[in-house]
Chain length 196, copies 2
Amino acid sequence: MNSFNFKTYLTSNIALDNDSIDDLMLHCKQQQIYKGDFLLRQGEKCKHSFFVESGLLKQYTIDEKGKEHIIQFAPEKWFISDRESVYFDNPSNYFIQAIEDTKVFVLDELFFQELSLSHPNFLDYNNRLLHNHIRHLQKRITQLLSATAEQRYLDFIQVYPDISLRVPQTMIASYLGITPESLSRVRKELAQQFQK
Amino acid sequence: MNSFNFKTYLTSNIALDNDSIDDLMLHCKQQQIYKGDFLLRQGEKCKHSFFVESGLLKQYTIDEKGKEHIIQFAPEKWFISDRESVYFDNPSNYFIQAIEDTKVFVLDELFFQELSLSHPNFLDYNNRLLHNHIRHLQKRITQLLSATAEQRYLDFIQVYPDISLRVPQTMIASYLGITPESLSRVRKELAQQFQK
């Protein structure tokens, strides 16, 4: 399984000196959780962002009929959080749960804000994270409105290259907003195309 | 028709002194566009954010089959932009077009950034705008994945109280990701419920 050291990730992604990175590390804590464990439950206020060092998380909501809808997967090197709940201090609509045993870095939101004020480089980085998140959400809306099941699946395997091997097909169908039967049909059709 | 003065809006929403507001106004320009005019076309790079003083805009994408999918409406007091395109300097996937004659304030993104650095109050405000945008997008994804046509419509009239009187039903159906027939059925059912 891949594993990414958060400090290495920060060093290569933010133009901060070593002292600042060390300062930053003091305000984060590493946490080991196990398959099935929750980092957030619907109705709770989300207080943190999580960076996945190893393992796999899912963020999902449950509708009135008890059906699960997956909003996001977070494999290695991904951040996951309910930024709305953190920022507006609202109860979250989402669960964040481990699909595999997972090692995360837990980041305090207050620290994000303080570091943004003291380090313009970090401000840029945080700004980039927010815009990247907006890009991702915007693309997902466009897809849910306009893309065929095949287009959605092709995009999915581009965004998450190895996840289709790590989770049950029902979870992928839930993420794509299609039935497991449609997903199965799409996969069969694509396999036939690649064989030609 | 309602109309909102941008300066009044800023004064009541950002804790900035009058001089700073006047500085800000120097970097914006007002623009009058007419029904059917475009502020952005698919493939162009989006360079601005727009604040609607009066009128109504829609942001939409067109799929492979030529079908229009509305991502957002922007009536009075709303901001609209393709933040992804502005920030990452990517060609946009969206059109922004006037549904009614519209008066907008055109805001330069560079100015947003510079003002964020010089005025912490504005930084907070911009940060709030970004998080509000994320909240809105996140809610929309959850709805597209999990809400019934009726729930989507009820939420729509809460977010956009007067738009259902200002646009054709086909546009609302496009925004909700349902067929015009489903929308018509939902409206009929709701009307019957309210009559009881």
